[in-house]
C-alpha cells in the first residue's frame, strides 16, 4: 500500500508541472502537439526512473560533497542514451523535440527527485517514485500538448479532429510561446480552483 503510494502521488498530489511547478521549460517549449508531449514524457520517464534507481542504489557510496556532480553525470548519461535512441529509431520525434532532449539533463524534476527522494529512499521506492512522477509529467504534457494542438491546429496526435475550415484558419496563437504560457496558466488556475476546498 505505502509502496504503491509512491507511484500514485505523482499523478495528483505531486503532479510535477502543476503542483510542484517544476520543469516548466520543456513543458512550455515542447507541447506544440500531443505527440511531442508524449515523446518528451516518455523520455523523461525513462531518464527519471533509471537515474532514480541508480542514484538510490549508489546513495551510500556517493560522498555528500560531490553528490550533485554525480547525479548530473548519471542523468546526463541516460539523457544521451535517450537522445541517440530517438535519433536512431524515432527520428521525427527527435526533430520535433530538438534541443529539449539534451536539456532534460537540467530538468528540475529529475534532479529534484534525485536529491529529494532517491538519495534518501530504497531502490524499489525510488523506481516507483520515478515512474509515478514521470507518468504524471507525461500526463500533464499530453494534456497540455493535446489542448494546444486541438485549438492551435485542429488536430490531436496528428489526427484531424476539427473541420477542414477550422484547420485552415486555426487559432495558431496557442502553438506560439505566449499561447503556451496562457494555456499553462489557465490549467493551473483550474487545478487550483478544483482542489481549493480540500486544501483549506
Amino acid at each position: 500500500m505505502s509502496i504503491f503510494k509512491e507511484f500514485t502521488k505523482g499523478l495528483w498530489q505531486e503532479l510535477p508541472p502543476f503542483r510542484l511547478v517544476l520543469g516548466l521549460c520543456p513543458v512550455l517549449a515542447v507541447t506544440k502537439s500531443a505527440t511531442n508531449g508524449l515523446g518528451m514524457g516518455l523520455a523523461v520517464i525513462f531518464v527519471l526512473t533509471w537515474s532514480n534507481i541508480l542514484v538510490s542504489a549508489l546513495r551510500k557510496v556517493i560522498p555528500r560533497k560531490v553528490r550533485i556532480a554525480s547525479y548530473i553525470v548519471i542523468i546526463a548519461t541516460f539523457v544521451v542514451i535517450v537522445e541517440m535512441a530517438t535519433q536512431a529509431f524515432f527520428y521525427p520525434v527527435y526533430e520535433a523535440l530538438g534541443i529539449f532532449i539534451p536539456l532534460i539533463v537540467v530538468n528540475c524534476v529529475i534532479l529534484g527527485r534525485a536529491e529529494a527522494f532517491a538519495s534518501k529512499n530504497g531502490v524499489v521506492a525510488s523506481a516507483l517514485d520515478g515512474l509515478g512522477i514521470g507518468a504524471g509529467f507525461t500526463m500533464s504534457l499530453v494534456v497540455l500538448g493535446g489542448l494546444r494542438e486541438l485549438i492551435g491546429a485542429g488536430t490531436l496526435f496528428d489526427v484531424e479532429i476539427m473541420s477542414a475550415a477550422y484547420r485552415s484558419h486555426s487559432f495558431s496563437f496557442m502553438l506560439e510561446a505566449p499561447g503556451a504560457f496562457i494555456c499553462l496558466g489557465v490549467l493551473l488556475a483550474i487545478m487550483n480552483a478544483v482542489s481549493a476546498p480540500s486544501s483549506s
Binding site: L58, P63, A69, V73, I74, I81, M84, Q87, Y91
Partner: protein, 190 residues
C-alpha cells in the same frame, strides 16, 4: 585527505562507467543514426529534386572526391540507367550559409531542380527562397545559364525584399555548376 581521495575516486568511477556505456551505445547506433539523418533531412529534398527517378535514391549514393573535397552524390535512375545526379552546395546568405541541393540531368546537362536544405534567413522575407515559387524557376535551366540575379546582370528574378538571400542561392548554384563537369566525369568513369 582520505575524504578527497574517496570523492575523486567515486566521481571518476561513475564518470568512467558512464562514458564506457555511452561509447558502447554510440557504436551500436552510429550507422543507423547516419542513415536516419540522410533519410529524413536530405532524403526528401533529394527525392523532390530527382522526382522522375524510380530507384531508391538514398541507397544508391556514393562519396566521390572533387578537388580534394568529399562530395556526397545521389544518383537517380530510370530503369537501370543512371538518369540524373544531385549533390549539395553552399552559398552565403543574409543570416548565414544557405545549403542547396542541386540536381542535374546528365543526359542534356540541365538542372532537374533545386531545393533549399537549410538556411538562416529572416522568417517571412528571406525565407521566401525556400518557397516553390522561387525554386521552380530553376527547373530545366541549362548549366550555361548565368546564375546571378537580374540587378547584377544575370538571368534570375530576385525576390522583392530578399535580394540578398536570392543572391546566396545563386552563389550556391554557381558553386555547384562549377564542379559539375568533374563530378559527371567521375561518376561515369566508375
Amino acid at each position: 585527505m582520505k575524504e578527497i581521495i574517496q570523492m575523486i575516486g567515486v566521481l571518476s568511477l561513475i564518470s568512467g562507467v558512464c562514458a564506457l556505456a555511452l561509447s558502447g551505445f554510440r557504436a551500436a547506433t552510429a550507422e543507423r543514426i547516419e542513415d536516419q539523418i540522410l533519410q529524413n533531412v536530405q532524403g526528401p529534398k533529394v527525392k523532390l529534386v530527382l522526382d522522375k527517378a524510380d530507384n531508391d535514391i538514398i541507397n544508391d549514393r556514393k562519396t566521390i572526391s572533387v578537388n580534394g573535397e568529399d562530395v556526397l552524390l545521389f544518383i537517380g535512375k530510370k530503369g537501370a540507367e543512371p538518369w540524373a545526379i544531385a549533390y549539395e552546395s553552399t552559398g552565403g546568405g543574409f543570416g548565414g550559409d544557405i545549403k542547396v541541393m542541386v540536381g542535374y540531368d546528365i543526359g542534356n546537362d540541365t538542372l532537374t531542380g533545386i531545393q533549399i536544405i537549410s538556411h538562416k534567413e529572416t522568417p517571412g522575407i528571406g525565407s521566401k527562397i525556400a518557397d516553390d515559387q522561387f525554386t521552380k524557376f530553376f527547373k530545366g535551366l541549362t548549366t550555361s545559364t548565368k546564375f546571378t540575379t537580374k540587378p547584377q546582370g544575370g538571368d534570375v528574378d530576385a525576390i522583392s525584399g530578399a535580394t540578398y538571400s536570392a543572391r546566396g542561392v545563386c552563389e550556391a548554384i554557381r558553386n555547384s555548376v562549377e564542379i559539375y563537369p568533374q563530378v559527371k566525369k567521375q561518376m561515369q568513369s566508375q
